[in-house]
Point group: C2
Chain length 200, copies 2
Protein backbone atom coordinates (compact mmCIF):
# COMPACT_ATOMS: atom_id res chain seq x y z
CA UNK A 1 0.00 0.00 0.00
CA UNK A 2 2.38 2.66 -1.19
CA UNK A 3 0.21 4.85 -3.34
CA UNK A 4 -2.87 6.94 -2.76
CA UNK A 5 -4.72 4.99 -5.42
CA UNK A 6 -4.15 1.68 -3.67
CA UNK A 7 -5.63 3.18 -0.55
CA UNK A 8 -8.47 5.28 -1.88
CA UNK A 9 -9.97 2.69 -4.19
CA UNK A 10 -10.99 0.73 -1.11
CA UNK A 11 -12.97 3.56 0.40
CA UNK A 12 -14.04 6.10 -2.20
CA UNK A 13 -15.79 5.87 -5.55
CA UNK A 14 -13.80 7.22 -8.44
CA UNK A 15 -14.26 8.26 -12.02
CA UNK A 16 -11.95 7.85 -14.98
CA UNK A 17 -11.37 9.98 -18.03
CA UNK A 18 -9.07 10.23 -21.01
CA UNK A 19 -7.28 13.41 -22.04
CA UNK A 20 -5.54 14.37 -25.26
CA UNK A 21 -2.12 15.99 -25.11
CA UNK A 22 -2.67 19.64 -24.31
CA UNK A 23 -6.06 19.17 -22.66
CA UNK A 24 -6.58 20.97 -19.39
CA UNK A 25 -7.59 18.78 -16.47
CA UNK A 26 -8.17 21.83 -14.34
CA UNK A 27 -7.14 25.46 -14.34
CA UNK A 28 -5.79 27.84 -11.76
CA UNK A 29 -8.74 29.33 -9.90
CA UNK A 30 -11.18 26.50 -10.62
CA UNK A 31 -12.94 25.25 -7.54
CA UNK A 32 -10.96 22.35 -6.12
CA UNK A 33 -13.10 19.21 -6.23
CA UNK A 34 -10.89 16.23 -6.94
CA UNK A 35 -7.70 14.40 -6.18
CA UNK A 36 -6.18 12.83 -9.28
CA UNK A 37 -4.19 9.76 -10.19
CA UNK A 38 -2.24 9.41 -13.42
CA UNK A 39 -3.00 5.90 -14.63
CA UNK A 40 -1.18 6.32 -17.91
CA UNK A 41 0.56 9.30 -19.43
CA UNK A 42 2.01 12.45 -17.93
CA UNK A 43 0.54 15.61 -16.47
CA UNK A 44 2.20 18.98 -16.19
CA UNK A 45 1.38 21.13 -13.17
CA UNK A 46 2.15 24.76 -13.93
CA UNK A 47 1.48 28.06 -12.28
CA UNK A 48 0.80 31.35 -13.97
CA UNK A 49 2.92 34.17 -12.68
CA UNK A 50 3.20 37.86 -13.32
CA UNK A 51 3.23 38.81 -17.00
CA UNK A 52 1.34 35.66 -17.93
CA UNK A 53 4.41 33.46 -17.82
CA UNK A 54 3.92 29.93 -16.62
CA UNK A 55 6.37 27.97 -14.50
CA UNK A 56 6.36 24.20 -14.26
CA UNK A 57 5.87 23.04 -10.70
CA UNK A 58 5.79 19.32 -11.25
CA UNK A 59 5.50 16.62 -13.87
CA UNK A 60 3.26 13.81 -12.63
CA UNK A 61 4.08 10.49 -14.24
CA UNK A 62 1.97 7.37 -14.46
CA UNK A 63 1.23 5.92 -11.05
CA UNK A 64 1.54 9.27 -9.31
CA UNK A 65 -1.19 11.30 -7.68
CA UNK A 66 -1.50 15.05 -7.90
CA UNK A 67 -3.52 17.96 -6.50
CA UNK A 68 -3.75 16.25 -3.11
CA UNK A 69 -3.61 19.68 -1.50
CA UNK A 70 -6.98 20.43 -3.09
CA UNK A 71 -8.45 18.65 -0.08
CA UNK A 72 -7.61 21.71 1.94
CA UNK A 73 -8.18 24.48 -0.53
CA UNK A 74 -11.21 26.00 -2.19
CA UNK A 75 -9.52 26.51 -5.52
CA UNK A 76 -6.67 25.00 -7.49
CA UNK A 77 -3.52 27.07 -7.38
CA UNK A 78 -2.09 25.84 -10.64
CA UNK A 79 -3.05 24.42 -14.02
CA UNK A 80 -2.96 20.73 -14.80
CA UNK A 81 -2.32 19.93 -18.44
CA UNK A 82 -1.94 16.54 -20.08
CA UNK A 83 1.57 16.54 -21.54
CA UNK A 84 0.82 13.41 -23.55
CA UNK A 85 -2.42 11.44 -24.07
CA UNK A 86 -3.32 10.43 -20.53
CA UNK A 87 -5.71 8.32 -18.53
CA UNK A 88 -6.71 10.01 -15.29
CA UNK A 89 -8.66 8.83 -12.24
CA UNK A 90 -10.72 11.33 -10.17
CA UNK A 91 -11.46 11.03 -6.48
CA UNK A 92 -13.94 13.60 -5.12
CA UNK A 93 -12.20 15.51 -2.35
CA UNK A 94 -15.20 15.77 -0.07
CA UNK A 95 -15.77 12.03 -0.23
CA UNK A 96 -12.15 11.48 0.72
CA UNK A 97 -12.39 13.88 3.67
CA UNK A 98 -15.63 12.25 4.68
CA UNK A 99 -14.11 8.78 4.61
CA UNK A 100 -11.18 9.98 6.69
CA UNK A 101 -13.33 11.53 9.38
CA UNK A 102 -15.39 8.37 9.70
CA UNK A 103 -12.53 5.92 9.54
CA UNK A 104 -9.46 6.76 11.53
CA UNK A 105 -7.61 3.71 10.27
CA UNK A 106 -8.04 4.96 6.74
CA UNK A 107 -6.86 8.41 7.81
CA UNK A 108 -3.79 6.87 9.39
CA UNK A 109 -3.04 4.93 6.22
CA UNK A 110 -3.39 8.14 4.29
CA UNK A 111 -0.74 9.74 6.46
CA UNK A 112 1.49 6.72 6.02
CA UNK A 113 1.36 7.14 2.27
CA UNK A 114 2.32 10.79 2.56
CA UNK A 115 5.05 10.16 5.09
CA UNK A 116 6.54 7.61 2.74
CA UNK A 117 6.36 10.05 -0.13
CA UNK A 118 8.00 12.83 1.85
CA UNK A 119 10.87 10.56 2.80
CA UNK A 120 11.31 9.49 -0.79
CA UNK A 121 11.27 13.04 -2.13
CA UNK A 122 13.77 14.21 0.45
CA UNK A 123 16.14 11.44 -0.53
CA UNK A 124 15.80 12.23 -4.22
CA UNK A 125 16.48 15.88 -3.49
CA UNK A 126 19.52 15.03 -1.40
CA UNK A 127 20.91 12.93 -4.24
CA UNK A 128 20.76 15.96 -6.49
CA UNK A 129 23.20 17.75 -4.22
CA UNK A 130 25.88 15.38 -5.42
CA UNK A 131 27.67 17.04 -8.29
CA UNK A 132 29.59 14.15 -9.78
CA UNK A 133 27.52 11.95 -12.07
CA UNK A 134 29.49 8.87 -11.09
CA UNK A 135 28.99 9.43 -7.39
CA UNK A 136 25.33 10.31 -7.79
CA UNK A 137 24.59 7.12 -9.65
CA UNK A 138 26.61 5.06 -7.21
CA UNK A 139 24.86 6.47 -4.17
CA UNK A 140 21.55 5.83 -5.83
CA UNK A 141 22.55 2.23 -6.31
CA UNK A 142 23.70 1.92 -2.70
CA UNK A 143 20.41 3.34 -1.46
CA UNK A 144 18.35 1.00 -3.58
CA UNK A 145 20.39 -2.17 -3.34
CA UNK A 146 19.06 -5.11 -1.41
CA UNK A 147 21.12 -4.96 1.81
CA UNK A 148 22.36 -8.54 1.65
CA UNK A 149 22.88 -9.25 -2.04
CA UNK A 150 23.71 -5.77 -3.32
CA UNK A 151 21.43 -6.25 -6.28
CA UNK A 152 19.27 -3.49 -7.74
CA UNK A 153 16.49 -4.35 -10.13
CA UNK A 154 15.54 -1.28 -12.12
CA UNK A 155 11.85 -1.41 -12.98
CA UNK A 156 12.04 1.26 -15.69
CA UNK A 157 14.18 1.88 -18.77
CA UNK A 158 17.60 3.24 -17.87
CA UNK A 159 16.80 6.31 -19.90
CA UNK A 160 14.03 7.17 -17.47
CA UNK A 161 16.23 6.49 -14.47
CA UNK A 162 18.71 9.00 -15.87
CA UNK A 163 15.94 11.61 -15.87
CA UNK A 164 15.07 10.82 -12.26
CA UNK A 165 18.71 11.24 -11.31
CA UNK A 166 18.89 14.52 -13.18
CA UNK A 167 21.44 13.37 -15.73
CA UNK A 168 21.57 13.30 -19.51
CA UNK A 169 21.02 9.70 -20.53
CA UNK A 170 24.30 9.69 -22.42
CA UNK A 171 26.15 10.55 -19.23
CA UNK A 172 24.29 7.86 -17.37
CA UNK A 173 25.15 5.13 -19.88
CA UNK A 174 28.74 6.29 -20.03
CA UNK A 175 29.24 6.18 -16.28
CA UNK A 176 27.48 2.85 -16.02
CA UNK A 177 29.80 1.46 -18.67
CA UNK A 178 32.84 2.87 -16.88
CA UNK A 179 31.74 1.43 -13.55
CA UNK A 180 31.27 -1.97 -15.12
CA UNK A 181 34.66 -1.78 -16.77
CA UNK A 182 36.49 -0.97 -13.55
CA UNK A 183 34.67 -3.70 -11.66
CA UNK A 184 32.46 -1.57 -9.44
CA UNK A 185 29.25 -3.09 -10.72
CA UNK A 186 28.00 -5.86 -12.93
CA UNK A 187 25.03 -5.51 -15.24
CA UNK A 188 22.63 -7.93 -16.81
CA UNK A 189 19.68 -6.38 -18.56
CA UNK A 190 17.63 -4.57 -15.94
CA UNK A 191 19.53 -5.61 -12.85
CA UNK A 192 22.73 -4.17 -11.46
CA UNK A 193 24.97 -5.77 -8.84
CA UNK A 194 27.32 -3.75 -6.67
CA UNK A 195 30.65 -5.52 -6.46
CA UNK A 196 32.72 -3.07 -4.46
CA UNK A 197 32.64 0.49 -3.21
CA UNK A 198 35.19 2.03 -5.50
CA UNK A 199 34.79 5.52 -4.14
CA UNK A 200 35.17 6.43 -0.53
Amino acid sequence: MNTLDDLLKNYVQSDKKHFQAGDYIFMQGDSARYIYIVVEGQVRLERFTIEGRSVIMHMADSGESFAEASLFSDIYHCNAVAAVPSEIIFYPGDSVLDAMSKNSFMATQFIAVFAHQVRSLRTRLELRNILSARERIFRYLLLNASPDSGVIVVPVPFKQLAVELGLAHETFYRELAAMEKDGTIRRSDRSITILRSSLI
Copy 2:
Protein backbone atom coordinates in the same frame (compact mmCIF):
# COMPACT_ATOMS: atom_id res chain seq x y z
CA MET B 1 -0.18 25.96 10.61
CA ASN B 2 2.44 24.81 8.16
CA THR B 3 4.68 22.64 10.26
CA LEU B 4 4.20 19.48 12.26
CA ASP B 5 5.40 21.21 15.38
CA ASP B 6 2.74 23.91 15.15
CA LEU B 7 0.14 21.17 14.97
CA LEU B 8 1.45 18.61 17.41
CA LYS B 9 2.19 20.96 20.28
CA ASN B 10 -1.55 21.49 20.64
CA TYR B 11 -2.30 17.81 21.13
CA VAL B 12 0.71 15.88 22.30
CA GLN B 13 3.22 16.34 25.10
CA SER B 14 6.78 16.66 23.97
CA ASP B 15 10.25 16.52 25.38
CA LYS B 16 13.31 18.56 24.47
CA LYS B 17 16.99 17.71 24.44
CA HIS B 18 20.31 19.16 23.37
CA PHE B 19 22.85 17.27 21.27
CA GLN B 20 26.51 17.95 20.59
CA ALA B 21 27.79 17.76 17.04
CA GLY B 22 28.31 14.09 16.25
CA ASP B 23 25.84 12.81 18.83
CA TYR B 24 23.46 10.14 17.65
CA ILE B 25 19.78 10.90 18.13
CA PHE B 26 18.87 7.39 17.07
CA MET B 27 20.48 4.57 15.17
CA GLN B 28 19.38 2.27 12.42
CA GLY B 29 17.58 -0.65 14.00
CA ASP B 30 16.58 1.13 17.20
CA SER B 31 12.93 0.76 18.03
CA ALA B 32 11.03 3.69 16.52
CA ARG B 33 9.44 5.69 19.32
CA TYR B 34 9.50 9.36 18.40
CA ILE B 35 8.90 11.97 15.78
CA TYR B 36 11.46 14.77 15.94
CA ILE B 37 11.60 18.48 15.30
CA VAL B 38 14.83 20.39 14.80
CA VAL B 39 14.43 23.55 16.86
CA GLU B 40 17.96 24.74 16.27
CA GLY B 41 20.85 23.15 14.45
CA GLN B 42 21.05 20.52 11.75
CA VAL B 43 20.56 16.76 11.70
CA ARG B 44 21.97 14.30 9.20
CA LEU B 45 19.88 11.28 8.30
CA GLU B 46 22.09 8.54 6.90
CA ARG B 47 21.68 4.92 6.03
CA PHE B 48 24.27 2.22 6.36
CA THR B 49 24.68 0.16 3.25
CA ILE B 50 26.70 -2.85 2.24
CA GLU B 51 30.36 -2.70 3.24
CA GLY B 52 29.55 -0.35 6.08
CA ARG B 53 29.37 2.74 3.90
CA SER B 54 26.86 5.36 4.87
CA VAL B 55 24.81 7.43 2.46
CA ILE B 56 23.19 10.71 3.40
CA MET B 57 19.44 10.58 2.89
CA HIS B 58 18.53 14.01 4.16
CA MET B 59 19.80 17.01 6.08
CA ALA B 60 17.09 18.33 8.40
CA ASP B 61 17.49 22.04 9.14
CA SER B 62 16.00 24.05 11.95
CA GLY B 63 12.24 24.15 11.78
CA GLU B 64 12.01 20.82 10.00
CA SER B 65 10.64 17.56 11.31
CA PHE B 66 12.18 14.17 10.65
CA ALA B 67 11.52 10.47 11.19
CA GLU B 68 7.79 10.98 10.65
CA ALA B 69 7.67 7.55 9.03
CA SER B 70 8.57 6.08 12.40
CA LEU B 71 4.84 6.27 13.15
CA PHE B 72 4.38 3.33 10.85
CA SER B 73 7.49 1.34 11.50
CA ASP B 74 8.83 -0.72 14.39
CA ILE B 75 12.40 0.37 13.90
CA TYR B 76 14.29 3.31 12.45
CA HIS B 77 15.72 2.63 9.04
CA CYS B 78 18.53 5.12 9.25
CA ASN B 79 20.80 6.93 11.68
CA ALA B 80 20.12 10.46 12.87
CA VAL B 81 23.25 12.41 13.80
CA ALA B 82 23.54 15.99 14.94
CA ALA B 83 25.70 17.68 12.31
CA VAL B 84 26.15 20.73 14.55
CA PRO B 85 25.11 21.40 18.16
CA SER B 86 21.33 20.99 17.99
CA GLU B 87 18.17 21.44 20.01
CA ILE B 88 15.65 18.69 19.29
CA ILE B 89 12.02 18.18 20.28
CA PHE B 90 10.60 14.64 20.70
CA TYR B 91 7.00 13.63 20.17
CA PRO B 92 6.15 10.05 21.19
CA GLY B 93 4.81 8.26 18.14
CA ASP B 94 2.14 6.28 19.95
CA SER B 95 0.76 9.44 21.53
CA VAL B 96 0.56 11.03 18.12
CA LEU B 97 -1.22 8.01 16.64
CA ASP B 98 -3.54 7.96 19.62
CA ALA B 99 -4.40 11.63 19.23
CA MET B 100 -5.12 11.11 15.55
CA SER B 101 -7.44 8.20 16.08
CA LYS B 102 -9.42 10.12 18.69
CA ASN B 103 -9.51 13.41 16.86
CA SER B 104 -10.26 13.27 13.16
CA PHE B 105 -9.82 17.01 12.80
CA MET B 106 -6.29 16.72 14.08
CA ALA B 107 -5.67 13.82 11.71
CA THR B 108 -6.93 15.91 8.82
CA GLN B 109 -4.64 18.75 9.80
CA PHE B 110 -1.79 16.29 9.92
CA ILE B 111 -2.51 15.29 6.36
CA ALA B 112 -2.71 18.93 5.32
CA VAL B 113 0.78 19.52 6.65
CA PHE B 114 2.11 16.56 4.70
CA ALA B 115 0.26 17.46 1.52
CA HIS B 116 1.78 20.90 1.72
CA GLN B 117 5.21 19.46 2.23
CA VAL B 118 4.88 17.06 -0.68
CA ARG B 119 3.88 19.88 -2.98
CA SER B 120 6.80 21.97 -1.81
CA LEU B 121 9.32 19.17 -2.25
CA ARG B 122 8.03 18.37 -5.73
CA THR B 123 8.46 21.97 -6.75
CA ARG B 124 11.98 22.14 -5.36
CA LEU B 125 12.85 18.96 -7.21
CA GLU B 126 11.39 20.28 -10.44
CA LEU B 127 13.50 23.42 -10.12
CA ARG B 128 16.60 21.28 -10.00
CA ASN B 129 15.83 20.00 -13.46
CA ILE B 130 16.69 23.42 -14.81
CA LEU B 131 20.31 23.38 -15.86
CA SER B 132 21.03 27.07 -16.25
CA ALA B 133 21.76 28.86 -12.98
CA ARG B 134 20.21 32.07 -14.24
CA GLU B 135 16.99 30.40 -15.29
CA ARG B 136 16.79 28.37 -12.11
CA ILE B 137 17.08 31.43 -9.92
CA PHE B 138 14.63 33.35 -12.05
CA ARG B 139 11.99 30.62 -11.94
CA TYR B 140 12.44 30.40 -8.20
CA LEU B 141 11.78 34.10 -7.96
CA LEU B 142 8.71 33.84 -10.18
CA LEU B 143 7.32 31.02 -8.06
CA ASN B 144 7.85 32.89 -4.83
CA ALA B 145 6.96 36.40 -5.88
CA SER B 146 3.81 37.98 -4.56
CA PRO B 147 1.47 37.75 -7.59
CA ASP B 148 0.61 41.43 -7.67
CA SER B 149 3.77 43.27 -6.65
CA GLY B 150 6.40 40.84 -7.89
CA VAL B 151 8.33 41.20 -4.67
CA ILE B 152 10.14 38.33 -2.96
CA VAL B 153 11.29 38.71 0.60
CA VAL B 154 14.00 36.17 1.33
CA PRO B 155 13.83 35.13 4.96
CA VAL B 156 17.30 33.55 5.05
CA PRO B 157 20.81 34.61 4.07
CA PHE B 158 21.34 34.45 0.31
CA LYS B 159 24.09 31.96 0.90
CA GLN B 160 21.55 29.52 2.29
CA LEU B 161 19.14 30.14 -0.55
CA ALA B 162 21.93 29.21 -2.94
CA VAL B 163 22.21 25.87 -1.18
CA GLU B 164 18.49 25.27 -1.47
CA LEU B 165 18.68 26.01 -5.19
CA GLY B 166 21.62 23.66 -5.56
CA LEU B 167 24.10 26.32 -6.63
CA ALA B 168 27.49 27.45 -5.39
CA HIS B 169 26.93 30.69 -3.54
CA GLU B 170 29.42 32.45 -5.81
CA THR B 171 27.34 31.51 -8.84
CA PHE B 172 24.22 32.70 -7.11
CA TYR B 173 25.65 36.12 -6.26
CA ARG B 174 27.08 36.48 -9.73
CA GLU B 175 23.79 35.76 -11.47
CA LEU B 176 21.90 37.98 -9.10
CA ALA B 177 24.30 40.82 -9.85
CA ALA B 178 23.97 40.20 -13.58
CA MET B 179 20.18 40.18 -13.39
CA GLU B 180 20.21 43.44 -11.50
CA LYS B 181 22.58 44.99 -14.00
CA ASP B 182 20.46 44.09 -17.01
CA GLY B 183 17.30 45.33 -15.31
CA THR B 184 15.56 42.00 -14.69
CA ILE B 185 15.37 42.52 -10.95
CA ARG B 186 16.01 45.10 -8.29
CA ARG B 187 17.50 44.30 -4.90
CA SER B 188 17.41 45.98 -1.55
CA ASP B 189 18.83 43.98 1.31
CA ARG B 190 16.66 40.90 1.73
CA SER B 191 13.97 41.71 -0.80
CA ILE B 192 14.04 41.24 -4.55
CA THR B 193 11.64 42.79 -7.05
CA ILE B 194 11.02 41.30 -10.48
CA LEU B 195 10.99 44.05 -13.05
CA ARG B 196 10.60 42.11 -16.28
CA SER B 197 10.79 38.60 -17.61
CA SER B 198 14.05 38.79 -19.49
CA LEU B 199 14.04 35.17 -20.56
CA ILE B 200 11.21 33.55 -22.43
